[in-house]
């Protein structure tokens, strides 16, 4: 990786790229203006990284400029609401992450819009939850983790925030899969969970597959259970699957990188963006990035994107939550009571 010299061509190419920062009015695909790609999370987060990895390739295919606009806040609801109210002229689209997105939307009764109002474009990747364990315990699968808690050999189980999807996963792991942890501890996001497990503040916790890959690379923790349906064997060889111990949890633990447009955006325009996203997803640079980082990159067309957040998907989630904990309202009331 490190070299004393640098290819002249790549240097010249880089100078060209950097000097493009100040350029405006590049020929856009959808009219002659740049297109805004709204990310409802802050810079540096997982969804932001996906978008910035693909941005140059999408620009290349659209033959125009893309401006990434981070509109973070309220668990992605601020950016989503902003996108909902933009003009349907193809000048703006955004990324949302169902099922987490639809879960957050459902958990906030103050929102007066429906996810299905957004027009689908495509999806470009998947990420989701795994269980990571500190290496000091020598635990290698879900069975051993259960035994570890039963015997008192391991203590504390971390999740990301009360009332969140990972909180519900934590409750389900106890009720449906027999994980009798002694103490479930909420942390303010994935980074703090990862840090807590690496530092052995808690023995295990829920981490996304990307932060699990970082935790594994640190040499301090292992990813032992895949909570998704998506295969993670390439990234974590030999990883156990939660579906070996009960029903699939994919409806709650898999998050898609779904591109959506404001209501009323016409299909041709969306298809043009979808084609550019497909090009970016299938490009060798992106594939290499996937291999190196463990990020799952996969293209889904307009219909497949819609299936991630349409009314049927939300209904299915409602039914699953009903069956698991008696419904959203029960879950939220219970959470509030605990807090």
């Amino acid at each position: 990786m490190v070299g004393g010299s640098m290819e002249r061509r790549s240097f010249v190419k880089s100078v060209g790229a950097i000097s493009a920062v100040g350029m405006s009015g590049l020929a856009g695909c959808l009219g002659d203006e740049s297109v805004t790609w709204m990310i409802p999370w802050s810079e540096g987060g997982g969804t932001d990284q996906y978008a910035r990895q693909m941005q140059p390739l999408v620009e290349e295919e659209l033959d125009g400029s893309i401006e990434i606009d981070n509109r973070e806040g309220a668990g992605s609801m601020i950016g989503s609401e902003w996108l909902l109210n933009q003009d349907a002229d193809g000048s703006v689209f955004g990324t949302v992450n169902p099922a987490g997105w639809t879960f957050t939307w459902r958990a906030d009764p103050s929102l007066d819009w429906e996810p299905s109002e957004f027009e689908p474009i495509a999806y470009s990747g998947i990420f989701g939850y795994t269980i990571i364990v500190n290496n000091d315990y020598g635990i290698e699968n879900f069975d051993e983790l259960r035994d570890g808690y039963e015997d008192g050999d391991i203590s504390g189980f971390a999740y990301q925030g009360s009332g969140s999807d990972s909180h519900l996963v934590t409750l389900l792991l106890e009720e449906e899969y027999g994980l009798n942890y002694d103490n479930a501890v909420p942390y303010d996001g994935g980074g703090p969970v990862q840090e807590a497990v690496l530092g052995d503040e808690v023995g295990a916790g829920i981490a996304t597959n990307t932060s699990a890959a970082e935790a594994v690379d640190s040499g301090e923790a292992s990813a032992i259970v895949n909570l998704m349906d998506v295969d993670l064997m390439d990234t974590f060889p030999g990883i156990d699957r939660i579906s070996n111990y009960g029903d699939s949890l994919g409806w709650l633990t898999e998050f898609y990188q779904v591109q959506v447009a404001p209501p009323g955006t016409d299909e041709d325009t969306r298809q043009e963006i979808a084609d550019a996203i497909e090009y970016a997803v299938e490009h060798e640079d992106t594939q290499e990035w996937m291999d190196e980082t463990g990020n799952i990159v996969e293209f889904g067309n307009m219909d497949e994107a819609a299936e991630r957040y349409n009314e049927a998907a939300i209904e299915e989630m409602e039914e699953n939550v009903e069956e698991a904990v008696g419904g959203f309202d029960v879950f939220l009331d219970q959470t509030e009571e605990e807090d």
């Binding site: 790229a17 950097i18 009332g163 990862q194």
Partner: protein
């Protein structure tokens, strides 16, 4: 092997292309950092996809250059227009801006460049020498310790408050109250006002800082004729020399503040803003003339600027060694590493892995600090003239920049309202002698204290003994921090009582 990696890193660094990217990065950083509200994460995120065609070392060095440069750039706006270019230069305003008003902007800017550079060089050298120990430290600091670091910062209110202690305390508590708006993380208690989404994550403290300092000061300047600098001042090279000499005359402050910056910077979730205030407060506490702080004491600028550049080195430890993003800036940096197929982890400190790259990055930061010094000092006299421009021109410029920068924070309209409201609050706080610094400490540290207190108590099943009983919880660092908090709060009273007793 380690020496081989080090020599290899020097070889890599001393190529024209790498040096060029470093200089470009630092210059972009200084500009981005100087614009209120923008800051390093946004600057780095904009650059990130543009680095895709670049060779990996050049790309990461460009990003690190932006990160480091913006830390210094933030101080320019802080000194000249009382606006924190980046939140980590907030404490620079306390004495840097009064110096500008006294016609000593050149000295303040020279101090800022010199202290930033020296602290940067010192902490990066320390990081190269002691990185294994720092890596261990990152994992030793957990939730209870983070809570106590925040409490330590809050306890500094007793140190930084001038005049009425009751007013200082009231200001600190008011600051804490500001942080109770919005959902309490990590629990799900919703404390939004009127169920608006825009208050879900609370009131942004950077918007509060911009309001309290920039807008409040512009309101005050509106009644003043001439420029920011009061009276007829000359801006010359003598001021620069004074600044450099002054920094070198306070090696202990530089050393101490740089260390505070590096150590707190290495704690994920604490970061440059916290270290900035802790270093400033420590400078006040240990001074023989604490009353002069806040009215143009050069040591205040030295402490603040030494700490925020020290933080850059510290924050790289959890980012590079564990892939833990301690802040938005390091999150973007990790994104850059991953984008260029570099996985954070122990291999970054392994001679058979990527140690050469790690050394290259650290050495690049070292050289970047020299660039900061040269660029900073060469701009001082020109920038200093800003303080002589008539306020009729300065005020609209600062107000527009403040609002634009605030909106760029996260595109939240509430932030703009925050700037206006806290501008008015700040104006009246100064007028009626309420400590703005105490208020800011409350605003900056409230969230960190609350979230970590909840999680710490969850870890201990509600027992506060987790903070003071290492025999049961094994947290000796918590006990040490608890003792420091107690000493900080009660030490001066005990000392006073003891002296009185001895005299009697």
């Amino acid at each position: 092997m380690t020496l081989e990696s080090f020599v290899g890193a020097i070889d890599t660094l001393l190529t024209f292309e790498i040096m060029l990217w470093l200089v470009i990065g630092v210059l972009i950083g200084i500009i981005v950092g100087g614009l209120p509200g923008l800051g390093p994460p946004l600057g780095m995120a904009i650059i990130l996809p543009l680095t895709l065609p670049m060779e990996s070392t050049s790309a990461i060095i460009l990003l690190i250059g932006v990160y480091s440069g913006s830390m210094y750039g933030g101080s320019i706006a802080a000194v000249l227009i009382n606006t924190p270019g980046v939140s980590s230069s907030a404490a620079t305003m306390f004495d840097g801006y009064p110096m500008s008003k006294q016609g000593r902007a050149a000295t303040a800017l020279a101090i800022s460049a010199t202290a930033s550079a020296i602290a940067g060089v010192f902490t990066i050298t320390a990081l190269i020498l002691f990185s294994p120990a720092l890596v261990e430290m990152v994992l030793a600091v957990g939730t209870p310790e983070r809570f106590l670091v925040a409490i330590l910062g809050l306890a500094m209110i007793t140190v930084v408050t001038r005049g009425s202690a009751a007013k200082g305390l009231l200001a600190g508590v008011a600051g804490l109250l500001v942080t109770t708006v919005g959902a309490a993380q990590p629990i799900s208690v919703d404390r939004r006002y009127a169920e608006t989404l825009y208050l879900y994550d609370g009131i942004d403290f950077v918007a509060v800082l911009i309001g309290l300092f920039a807008i409040a000061e512009m309101m005050k300047l509106a009644g003043q004729k001439g420029g920011i600098a009061e009276g007829n001042v000359t801006i010359n090279r003598e001021g620069i020399t004074n600044g450099i000499v002054s920094t070198f005359k306070h090696p202990i402050t530089v050393f101490k503040s740089a260390n505070i910056g590096m150590i707190i910077g290495a704690i994920p979730g604490a970061g440059a803003t916290v270290s900035n205030f802790v270093a400033y407060s420590e400078a006040v506490r240990s001074s023989k003339d604490p009353e002069s702080f806040g009215s143009g004491n050069e040591v205040g600028v030295i402490a603040s600027e030494s700490s925020n550049n020290g933080t850059v080195a510290g924050s790289l430890v959890p980012a590079i060694s564990f892939g833990i993003p301690g802040s938005s800036s390091t999150a973007v940096l990790i994104g850059g590493l991953l984008m260029h197929r570099l996985q954070p982890g122990p291999s970054m400190f392994d001679p058979s892995g990527e140690l050469q790259l790690t050394y290259t990055l650290l050495l690049a930061l070292l050289v970047g600090n020299a660039v900061i010094l040269i660029v900073g000092l060469s701009m001082v006299t020109r920038l200093g003239y800003l303080t002589k421009i008539d306020t009729n021109y300065i005020i609209p410029m600062v107000v527009v920049l403040s609002f634009l920068g605030t909106f760029a924070l996260r595109g939240n309209p509430i932030d703009v309202l925050t700037v206006i409201v806290f501008g008015i609050i700040g104006f009246y706080m100064v007028r009626y002698n309420y400590s703005v610094i105490a208020f800011v400490l409350g605003v900056v540290l409230g969230d960190i204290a609350e979230g970590n207190l909840y999680t710490a108590l969850q870890l201990s099943d509600g027992s506060f003994m987790i903070f003071i009983n290492p025999f049961e919880y094994g947290r000796w660092l918590s006990l040490l921090l608890s003792v420091m908090v107690v000493l900080l709060i009660f030490g001066p009273y005990v000392k006073q009582w003891w002296v009185k007793r001895q005299t009697a």
